[in-house]
C-alpha cells in the first residue's frame, strides 16, 4: 500500500483550443507539503479543480487515495478539503454559521471552535462574510477546507492578502497538518513561502511540469547555483582576471569579480591569494546562494505574461 494521497497521470484539459493542462503527472504523499509553483495562468488552479473532480479531464487519470474524484465523489470529497483562491463562501452569512453549515455536510467534522480559536475567527464572528477583509476571508476559507477532517488538503494561494502575523499562523497550521500525516498540496507564487513550507516542489508553466524536486535540489540543479562575488578598491586588471579564470570560471565588471560555482574554502583561498599578489584591496566579499526565486525566473523567464 503506497502512501500516495493524490496520484495524477497524463492529465490534459483544454478550454476550447487553448491547452491549459498539457500532460501533468503529480504525486502528493501523506505527511508532506507539495508546493505547486507557476506564473499566473500556468494551469495551477485548473489542475486543482480537475484533481477534486469539479472538472472532468479530457485525458488522464486522477486518484485520491485510489478513488476517482468524478465517479466516486462522495468518497473523495470526505477525504479531500479544498481552499479556493477566491474564498468561495456565502457572502450574506457569518463565518461561524458558514463553518457550522459546512460541518453538517461531512460525516465526521471537526468542532468549529477547534478551527475558530487558533485561526482567530472569533474576533470577527459577528460580521457577515461580505464585511470581512481579504485576509479574514482567507482564514475562514482555510477553516472551510479543514472542517471535514481531510487527509488531503488543496490550498490555492492560502496566504494571498494576509498580513505577516496571519501568514505566520497559517504557515504553522500548514506545517502542523503535514506533521499530523495530512497530504498538503499548496499552490503559490510566493517563492519564499514555497521554499519554507514545501517538502517537494513542482514548477508548472504553460500546462506542463518544467521542474520538480526538493527545494534544495532545485536550487542546486540550477546552472548558476552558487557564486562568489568580490569587490575591489580599484578596477580589475586583465592580468588578475586571467589568473583567477585559471582557478575557476570567472568574469569581471568594473571593480567586481564574479567566480562561478560552489565557493569552497580552497577556492576562496586561491582566489584571495591571487588578489593579494596583484596588490589590490578587497572591500567586500560575498557568497551568493541562489534562491528558489532565481531558479523560478531562470525556468519561466522574467517577462510578464
Amino acid at each position: 500500500m503506497s502512501s500516495s494521497a493524490l496520484t495524477i497521470r497524463g492529465l490534459h484539459y483544454s478550454y476550447g483550443a487553448h491547452r491549459v493542462v498539457d500532460g501533468i503527472d503529480l504525486t502528493a504523499e501523506t505527511g508532506a507539503v507539495l508546493g505547486v509553483l507557476g506564473p499566473n495562468g500556468a494551469g495551477k488552479s485548473t489542475t486543482i479543480s480537475l484533481a477534486v473532480g469539479t472538472r472532468r479531464p479530457d485525458a488522464g487519470t486522477v486518484e485520491i487515495f485510489g478513488h476517482d474524484p468524478v465517479r466516486d465523489h462522495l468518497t473523495t470529497s470526505q477525504l479531500a478539503g479544498v481552499m479556493l483562491q477566491d474564498g468561495g463562501l456565502p457572502m450574506s452569512s457569518k463565518p461561524l454559521q458558514v463553518l457550522r453549515h459546512l460541518a453538517s455536510l461531512y460525516e465526521n467534522p471537526l468542532p468549529v471552535q477547534e478551527l475558530a480559536d487558533p485561526l482567530g475567527l472569533n474576533d470577527f464572528a459577528g460580521r457577515t462574510m461580505r464585511r470581512l477583509s481579504g485576509g479574514q476571508k482567507q482564514r475562514v476559507a482555510l477553516a472551510a477546507a479543514l472542517i471535514g477532517r481531510p487527509q488531503l488538503v488543496f490550498l490555492d494561494e492560502p496566504c494571498a492578502g494576509l498580513d505577516p502575523q496571519a501568514r505566520e499562523v497559517v504557515h504553522t497550521f500548514i506545517r502542523e497538518l503535514a506533521d499530523r500525516g495530512v497530504a498538503v498540496v499548496l499552490t503559490t507564487h510566493d517563492l519564499v513561502e514555497a521554499e519554507e513550507l514545501s517538502d517537494e516542489v513542482v514548477v508548472i508553466d504553460r500546462g506542463r511540469i518544467i521542474a520538480q524536486g526538493a527545494p534544495e535540489e532545485l536550487r542546486n540543479a540550477s546552472a548558476a547555483a552558487r557564486s562568489l562575488t568580490i569587490d575591489l578598491d580599484s578596477p580589475v586588471s586583465d592580468r588578475l582576471i586571467d589568473r583567477i579564470a585559471a582557478i575557476a570560471p570567472a568574469s569581471a565588471q568594473g571593480s567586481t569579480i564574479t567566480v562561478e560555482g560552489a565557493p569552497d574554502s580552497a577556492r576562496i583561498a586561491a582566489v584571495c591569494t591571487a588578489v593579494a599578489e596583484a596588490d589590490v584591496q578587497i572591500i567586500d566579499i560575498g557568497m551568493h546562494s541562489q534562491s528558489l526565486a532565481d531558479v523560478f525566473f531562470e525556468l519561466t523567464g522574467r517577462p510578464l505574461r
Binding site: 462522495l74 470529497s77 479556493l84 477566491d86 474564498g87 468561495g88 456565502p90 457572502m91 450574506s92 455536510l105
Partner: protein, 243 residues
C-alpha cells in the same frame, strides 16, 4: 446521510433568503401588497376584468400566489445563485460531499420551503379579507410544482450562463413583464392571451386561476409548464457553468 445533507443545505438557503431584505420585499411584500391592492380597490371591476358583482379575490388571490412563485422560484433564486456563482460558492460546495446534485436539490428544497411560507401568509391575508373558497388543493399543488420546475430551471439557466449583474437586471425585468403583461396576474384577451398562454408566466397564471375557484386542473397550462420545465432543466444541465 445524503438526505441529511440536502436538508441541511435547504435550511441554510432558506434562512439566507429570509434574512435578506430585498428577497423578503420581493417574495412577501409585493405579493401581499398585490393581494390587498387588487381586492380592496375598484381597479379590477373598473377596467372590466371581472363582472361588477364578482369577487375581486378570485383574481387577486391566484395572482398573489403566482407572483409569490415568480419571486422565489425565479427572480430571487436566480439572483442568489448568480452571486453565489460569482463568489465561487457553487464551486466550493461542489467539492464537499453535498456535490452538484445535492446543491440543486437543496435550492429546490429552499424554494419549496419559502413558497409554503408565502402561501400560508397569502392565504391568511386572503381569508382575513373575506375569501371563502373554493380551492382545488390538488390543482394548486400541481400548478405550484410544475410552475416551480419551469421557473426555477429557467432562472438557474440564466444564473449559470450570464454575468451576475446581467442576471439581476434581466430577472427583475422579466418579473415585471410577467406580472404586467405576461398573463401571470390577469388573463389577457385576444391573440396576446393565446401567446402568453404558451409562456411560463401565462400558463402559471391560468393554472392558478383555475385552481382557485371552481376551474379545477387546467390541463393545457400544466402541460405547457411541464414542457418549459423540461426545456429549462435540459438546457441548464447542458449550459450551466460553475465559473
Amino acid at each position: 446521510m445524503r438526505m441529511k445533507r440536502i436538508v441541511s443545505q435547504t435550511k441554510f438557503e432558506t434562512v439566507s433568503v429570509l434574512r435578506n431584505g430585498e428577497q423578503l420585499l420581493l417574495s412577501l411584500v409585493f405579493p401581499l401588497g398585490l393581494l390587498i391592492f387588487l381586492s380592496q380597490t375598484p381597479l379590477l371591476r373598473g377596467i372590466g376584468i371581472i363582472e361588477p358583482t364578482a369577487d375581486p379575490l378570485t383574481i387577486a388571490l391566484p395572482g398573489a400566489l403566482g407572483l409569490s412563485l415568480a419571486s422565489s422560484a425565479f427572480t430571487g433564486q436566480s439572483i442568489a445563485t448568480a452571486f453565489d456563482r460569482r463568489y465561487g460558492v457553487l464551486r466550493q460546495l461542489a467539492t464537499t460531499p453535498l456535490g452538484t446534485n445535492g446543491l440543486v436539490l437543496g435550492k429546490l428544497g429552499a424554494v419549496i420551503a419559502v413558497v409554503l411560507i408565502q402561501y400560508a401568509l397569502v392565504f391568511a391575508v386572503a381569508c382575513a379579507l373575506g375569501f371563502r373558497g373554493p380551492v382545488d388543493v390538488f390543482a394548486l399543488i400541481l400548478a405550484t410544482l410544475f410552475g416551480t420546475a419551469a421557473l426555477l430551471s429557467l432562472g438557474l439557466l440564466m444564473a449559470g450562463t450570464l454575468r451576475a449583474e446581467a442576471t439581476l437586471a434581466a430577472t427583475n425585468l422579466i418579473w415585471v413583464l410577467m406580472a404586467g403583461v405576461g398573463g401571470l396576474i390577469v388573463a389577457h384577451p385576444g391573440e396576446w392571451g393565446t401567446v402568453v398562454g404558451y409562456l411560463p408566466s401565462g400558463a402559471l397564471g391560468d393554472a392558478m386561476r383555475a385552481a382557485i375557484g371552481d376551474g379545477g386542473i387546467d390541463i393545457k397550462a400544466i402541460i405547457v409548464l411541464l414542457a418549459w420545465g423540461l426545456v429549462g432543466t435540459l438546457a441548464a444541465r447542458r449550459w450551466f457553468r460553475f465559473e
